[in-house]
């Protein structure tokens, strides 16, 4: 693959990367089977590997630093947030004068300033705003997120690329590994996701406990704690007084209003403990955060990314939990894939007649018990079959609705199709992306042979 000249080329900056090269250029016994140690391995990683860091906050800042100092030279970072003062106790790439600026842009700039030779492309936008092709370019995606929904989304995108061969084995070229980290106070986790081999985020979604929700009757009739009074003001009283006007948790005046209403209610019921700090914490669901836990978890994630890409050592198999409250508890659990997983599995099988139209297919998705997806957009091998939005695309693809989907899929007897829309999950409507295997019933032998030739 590499030309003889390329192999003979001396490694760049060997003195600078002396320590890292010990791992990358020397053979070992406890390494990955694909490990090919050489002085040039670091440069190969630097030249050819593109990594996406999702999130430029507590974990993201640490990840960018760790990856930049692990031989990765092509990084992208995506984050829709701007810098807040409360970030400064741990998001070390930001200073007080950066408050208000986009995290991704400042983080990228700071790391590039300090680590010469590294290129970081920032993306100040939502992860949903990127085309699927954007995510396809990366060899590995490292997540430093703070929400289940965001993780679920990236997971479905990465697993959406996964294809299976006729033996139901994952096709290696379509596997897009992810390393996912999360922290909360003194606790955290780091995991490696190899779609098709290890469990994906959805396979083990039960690992994340459901959020605490107070029953409405407690808030409305029998409050007992300060949090009840706060949530009453936030979830009930606000709408009563400001009907229509949405509550903005980042607006200090809105928060102040909630606080004073909560105080009034607390006084009424003889409940103590309502403070401004607690009000913010409850309304914004603030998760306490410190630099050390973020540093630890990010370091574990970056190390796993380095090992995955280079093969210089084994990978964690596959889920690490960390708890620093009492001494240090680190546990590695080997979770197992859910072979029926809707996201990383071979895809929910949908059987159709060759005469079913695209419009009928879309309708079917609403009722399908495993999908319950409404307002679905459909793509096949990168082509938009029907897009619900934006308006211009909707108009362009509208004509496809009345065409049999068998035709749109170029007459293949079995095809992988991606659908995205709104699905129901735990009583909430969430944006969802799913992979489907569409199989057509009642095909003649002859037409089957035709299709294999044409594809």
């Amino acid at each position: 693959m590499a030309s003889p000249d390329a192999e003979a080329a001396p490694p760049t900056e060997p003195e600078r990367w002396r320590d890292l090269d010990m791992l990358l250029s020397r053979p070992g016994n406890l390494v990955h089977s694909t490990f090919d140690p050489s002085p040039g391995l670091r440069d190969l990683i630097g030249s050819f590997v593109e990594v996406l860091v999702v999130g430029a906050g507590g974990l993201g800042c640490e990840l960018l630093k760790d990856l930049a100092l692990s031989g990765f030279k092509n990084l992208h970072v995506i984050d829709m947030d701007t810098i807040d003062v409360s970030n400064l106790n741990r998001q070390f790439l930001f200073r007080i004068h950066d408050v208000g600026k986009p995290k991704a842009e400042v983080a990228a700039k700071r790391v590039m300033e300090r680590v010469s030779g590294v290129n970081i492309v920032p993306h100040f936008c939502r992860i949903e705003d990127k085309e699927l092709d954007f995510y396809k370019q990366f060899q590995i995606i490292v997540l430093g997120l703070d929400s289940i929904e965001a993780r679920s989304y990236i997971n479905s995108v990465a697993c959406g690329f996964l294809e299976y061969d006729s033996d139901e084995k994952p096709v290696q070229e379509t596997v897009k590994p992810m390393v996912d980290g999360g922290t909360e106070g003194f606790k955290g986790h780091a995991r490696v996701i190899m779609p098709g081999t290890t469990p994906c985020f959805e396979c083990n979604i039960w690992l994340f406990p459901p959020q605490v929700k107070f029953p409405l009757c407690t808030l409305a009739e029998t409050p007992r704690t300060a949090a009840h009074c706060i949530e009453y003001a936030h979830l009930i009283k606000w709408d009563e007084v400001h009907s229509g006007k949405p509550f903005d948790a980042d607006d200090a005046e809105h928060m102040q209003w909630i606080y004073s209403e909560a105080l009034k209610r607390a006084e009424l019921f003889g409940i103590s403990g309502v403070t401004y700090s607690l009000t913010q914490g409850v309304v914004k669901n603030i998760i306490p955060a410190i630099a050390s836990t973020n540093a630890i978890i990010s370091a574990a994630c970056a190390l796993e990314a380095l090992k995955l890409v280079s093969g210089c050592s084994r990978s964690v198999s596959n889920y690490l939990t960390y708890n620093g409250l009492e001494g240090t508890h680190i546990k590695v659990t080997e979770f197992v894939r859910d072979t029926d997983c809707l996201v990383c599995g071979p895809g929910t099988l949908i059987e159709l007649d060759t005469t079913s139209t695209l419009s009928e297919f879309i309708k079917m998705l609403e009722e399908h018990p495993k999908l319950l997806m409404s307002k679905a957009s459909v793509t096949h091998e990168g082509n938009n079959l029907y897009m619900q939005a934006p308006e211009v695309l909707e108009q362009m693809t509208r004509q496809n609705l009345s065409i049999p989907i068998f035709e749109l899929l170029k007459g293949a007897s079995l095809a992988t199709v991606h659908v995205s829309g709104m699905a129901e999950s735990n009583g909430k409507k969430v944006s969802s992306l799913r992979k489907l295997r569409v199989a057509f019933k009642g095909l003649e032998e002859a037409s089957k042979m035709d299709t294999t030739e044409s594809s």
Binding site: W17, V85, L88, R90, F92, A295, V332
Partner: protein, 529 residues
């Protein structure tokens, strides 16, 4: 604009961590002075986390000049620093991270400082010693022990590393465990609680009142009913506990009464063992509870606690005073809260009297321990922790052999145990050959058996043979050759900084034992040796 921002800054900037350790914890951090030995990436990362959190001051001791290899693993150094003092360069970046922190440096090799100026360390709250070989570490440990300074040793070495805390004794009042049973005293309700429970008709015909009777009341009443029918005894056998649950259910008017469901779920609380736990018993029976003039405030409080238990406490600790949320009418809940608070306050008052008289007796000012401190102590008596650490000298000369063998034998800890031995062996070899094993490609094949020999001799001194050593790991350690890989250094440095925070704030429980990092499969372990 900038001035206003700076004024609002401290409280808002530290908001996310204040929610963990509170204003007092933050104040302790801001008063602390930390000494770092060696500012390679491991030490630098440890300090970075502390500086971000607002530590009082840091002093970096390092005699090296910045060289090319530092640029490949240390984020706080760049090309502009080449050739300059490493300690100075690190300090200036740290200062930029948080200008409220005082960052100082001494251009001196830590080994020389340890040998020639041991009294230097007495000014610090904590010494973080990174990348120190065993000989220096042992000397430093002894210096810190005599001066009663906390020592945190950290080291990163290829894909392995260690963190070890060393201090004679560290007492924790606010250990803040994750899950801990409430202190409800359902098995021994005091007068006011009994009276309140009696004042409520648990068979109230009003359906709303019936389903909003708090489970504390239900359980106090039904426990009494049970005891009356069972010779004053509370449910203890599995059969009895089941029957007690049935008794509770028999009082339900219909299936959707959440308060009764909560009562059934919490019914086991009626059967708790009365009195104090073994852990607390051990603390109050400790010889340090025989206090004198030089005793710490913690032990004075323990002495008062011992007296309290034998007198006002009637064998029980001071009441913690809070109750968990439960389905209830607001007025019942608030009344219960007040009853628990009142008893906690009266227990605390009794403790205060005892503390004052003990202080007088040992010749100290009776006002020298604040009411706030006593109150915090009273709320946490069930969760007290006394951490005592063996010196490194003791650990090396007399390790707990049964534990060593157990760690070697267990699949989840045998890599860690191997690394522990190999890290010690590496230092021995370095002493003999003036270099770390595996540093030179040309010698790596000879270094592997040399390292094995050194490891075997470490084990032999401990009274064990080398049979459990892993050939693969010996080879790996030679492969590492002391390399400081940034993500590993960041992990170890992160852990070291976290331990410092726990030790300085005196909240949560610090590491007990030697933490060994295993970057191969991340199965890291704490070895208690």
């Amino acid at each position: 604009m900038a001035a206003a921002a700076a004024a609002v800054e401290p409280k808002t900037k530290y908001d996310r961590q204040l929610r963990i350790w509170g204003d007092q914890g933050q104040a302790a951090l801001e008063k602390a002075s930390i000494c770092l030995l060696n500012c390679g990436p491991t030490g630098t990362e440890a300090l970075k986390n502390l500086v971000l959190g607002g530590i009082g001051s840091v002093t970096v001791v390092d005699g090296a000049k910045v060289e090319q290899a530092d640029l490949g693993n240390n984020f706080l150094l760049d090309e502009g620093c080449l050739g300059q003092s490493r300690a100075k360069s690190i300090c200036s970046f740290l200062q930029e991270l948080n200008d409220a922190v005082k960052a100082k440096y001494v251009e001196e090799s830590p080994a020389t400082m340890i040998d020639t100026n041991p009294s230097f360390f007495s000014q610090f709250t904590v010494v973080i010693a990174t990348q120190l070989p065993e000989t220096s570490l042992l000397k430093l440990d002894s210096i810190c022990r005599s001066a009663n300074i906390v020592l945190v040793a950290a080291r990163s070495y290829g894909l392995t590393g260690l963190v070890r805390v060393s201090i004679k004794e560290h007492c924790v009042i606010e250990s803040k465990p994750d899950h801990f049973l409430d202190d409800l005293r359902l098995h021994k309700p005091w007068t006011e609680l009994k009276q309140f429970a009696k004042s409520i008709d648990i068979c109230d015909k009003d359906a709303v009142v019936h389903k909003h009777t708090p489970y504390i009341v239900i359980l106090v009443r039904l426990a009494e009913k049970w005891a009356d029918a069972h010779d004053g005894q509370l449910p203890s056998t599995r059969q009895e506990k089941r029957e007690f649950k049935d008794l509770i259910r028999a009082h339900m008017l219909n299936v959707d009464e959440d308060n009764y469901k909560e009562a059934v779920e919490s019914s086991y609380k009626v059967s708790v063992t009365p009195g104090i736990s073994d852990d607390i018993r051990q603390i109050i029976d400790d010889s340090s509870s025989e206090v004198n003039m030089s005793s710490s405030d913690f032990w004075v409080l323990v002495a008062a606690l011992k007296e309290f238990i034998a007198n006002e406490g009637n064998g029980e600790l001071p009441l913690e005073g809070t109750i968990p949320d439960m389905t209830s009418l607001t007025e019942y809940y608030v009344s219960l809260q007040k009853i628990y608070q009142a008893k906690a306050e009266s227990d605390c008052l009794a403790m205060e009297h005892r503390v004052k008289s003990i202080l007088k007796r040992i010749g100290r000012d009776p006002e020298s321990i604040s009411r706030a401190y006593i109150k915090t102590f009273c709320k946490n008596t069930r969760k007290l922790r006394v951490c005592r650490y063996r010196s490194m000298e003791e650990e090396f000369s007399a390790p707990v052999l049964s534990e060593v063998q157990k760690y070697f034998a267990d699949e989840d800890s045998c890599f860690a145990m191997n690394f522990y031995i190999l890290l010690r062996a590496v230092d021995r070899l370095a002493a003999n050959y003036s270099r770390l094993p595996g540093i030179f490609d040309s010698e790596i094949d000879e270094d592997v058996p040399r390292l094995k020999l050194a490891a075997v001799s470490v084990l032999t001194e401990m009274g064990l043979n080398g049979a459990s050593l892993s050939e693969d790991l010996i080879t790996e350690v030679c492969r590492f050759a002391g390399a400081e890989i940034h993500p590993v250094a960041a992990f170890i440095g992160g852990m070291a900084s976290q331990e410092v925070i726990k030790l300085v704030t005196k909240q949560f429980v610090p590491l007990m034992g030697t933490f060994i990092f295993n970057g191969i499969d991340l199965k890291s372990q704490v070895l208690a040796l």
